[in-house]
Symmetry: C2
Subunit: 244 residues, 2 copies
DNA sequence: CGATTTATTGAAGAAACTCAACTCGAGTGG
DNA sequence: CCACTCGAGTTGAGTTTCTTCAATAAATCG
């Protein structure tokens, strides 16, 4: 029974844990919190003394620019730790929002540091998780910087599906994706109107369905081709079949 | 005399090192290499067994998309470790190129791991460095996703100046920036032609000079305003006056 | 010096944006 | 129960930003 601590399920997915390690992980206190959709969780400039593992819902990391528009830089789902980096960066550099109702399992930085010290293998895996976040950021720079709208959205949908599948949330090409078109526009840097039209194009080509909080991919190969998608930047521990 | 090992100068900037730590750092073997401009250093898909500290020159991290165009996701200067993440991510997820002639100080992953294990405080600081990279990636997503050309380039120039100043490379508003307009276009996701025209606009407004491998900022406040620049995402250990 | 990048310019076209109106569905409250 | 509101999605039309293509000037390098 490994699921009695949020970090256990996360870390056990990546490696076989020793008895000692399991005990140490269980010693990390967890404080759960519920957040309603569209609530801010942490604000740019905050100095959090704990990080949270997302055990239900979807959050995003975003910034507001001079004109008042907002860019979403990262999306986080079940099992992610959206603010792991605050463990070593004192000041939070972006806002973190709940896109849906969420459950957050907070863990004090002090205990996470202690865990890292006592069990370097676990520390390395937490470090690794932040590096994967960085890799995803890089791919988002590419996506927003180089791909035009249809390709850009296709790529995003591919990523969502693979990550959802890996988190155990997807089945038969369908996964939860409870975001609005306005959210999509802030993830892609496109205007809401253009997102709408691009969605229609993707639907019209029979590639996807999107709505009612769900994403369904009908033609994986087609979407991968359109989105120029390769999953290596996700650094998956093992291959994932997103359509299974 | 701390400058006899590349990691020493890097880490000593962030914290006061103990005798033990200094000895441990000195024990990390360094192998230096020279790379000519426009040479690839590491390729997407590589499995490096060492990382390098950049002790001279400029490198960038980039990817090529389906159409053959290239996006630069990160720029690295003196003191940076562009591939630190390969310490825990087996496969390199992007290409790393030398923009200018460079000197690379390679350090085996095995020794870096040993250092992390024996001196967690140093390990944390290396981790921290990768987190700052991640923060910069996030800001680049914002930059490319939301800001229009003049603002986008202004922001980039502000970042370059602050980072250069912090690395001890800038003085009186001037720093080395030996990149072509084509490089700028790949950093910003703009076409080379548009970069050229935007540069002319910035020059015309008396904000900057750029060319001959150097960047000069004439009106810091103006550039900051235009670029919507705030330096908090760089997580500077201490305030930096980029124009001093 | 010629050769080859790099920078610059003009002009036409495409992708994406803004603005504004309209539809639809899910509440909410009278 | 129905009218109303409010958020989300959709559509049309005109505009802007940026791109592409192609040609020329300037700078750099061997």
């Amino acid at each position: 029974m490994l699921a009695d601590h949020p970090l256990l399920s996360k870390l056990a997915r990546a490696m076989v844990l020793s008895e000692d390690e399991i005990i140490a992980i269980r010693a990390v206190p967890v404080q759960s919190a519920q957040v309603k959709a569209d609530q801010i969780i942490s604000r740019e400039g905050d100095k959090p003394s704990r990080s949270f593992l997302l055990s239900e819902g979807v959050t995003c990391t975003s910034k507001v620019v001079a004109g008042g528009k907002r860019q979403i830089m990262a999306l986080h789902i079940l099992g992610d730790v959206p603010d792991m980096h605050t463990l070593h960066l004192k000041l939070l550099d972006s806002d973190i929002w709940a896109i849906t109702d969420c459950q957050l399992d907070y863990m004090p930085h002090a205990d996470l540091r202690r865990l890292n010290l006592a069990h370097p293998r676990l520390g390395e895996d937490l470090w690794r998780a932040t590096l994967v976040d960085g890799s995803i950021h890089r791919e988002w720079v590419v996506n927003v910087g180089q791909r035009e709208a249809p390709s850009r959205m296709a790529h995003l949908f591919c990523e969502i599906m693979v990550r959802s599948k890996q988190a155990g949330l997807a089945q038969d090409g369908t996964c939860p994706f409870p975001v609005t078109q306005a959210d999509l526009s802030e993830m892609t840097g496109l205007s809401p109107v253009h997102v709408n039209r691009t969605l229609q194009a993707l639907r019209g080509q029979g590639l996807i369905s999107f709505g009612q909080g769900r994403l369904t991919i009908h033609d994986w190969d087609g979407l991968v081709e359109l989105g120029d998608f390769r999953d290596d930047y996700l650094h998956l521990p093992e291959p994932v079949d997103p359509m299974a």
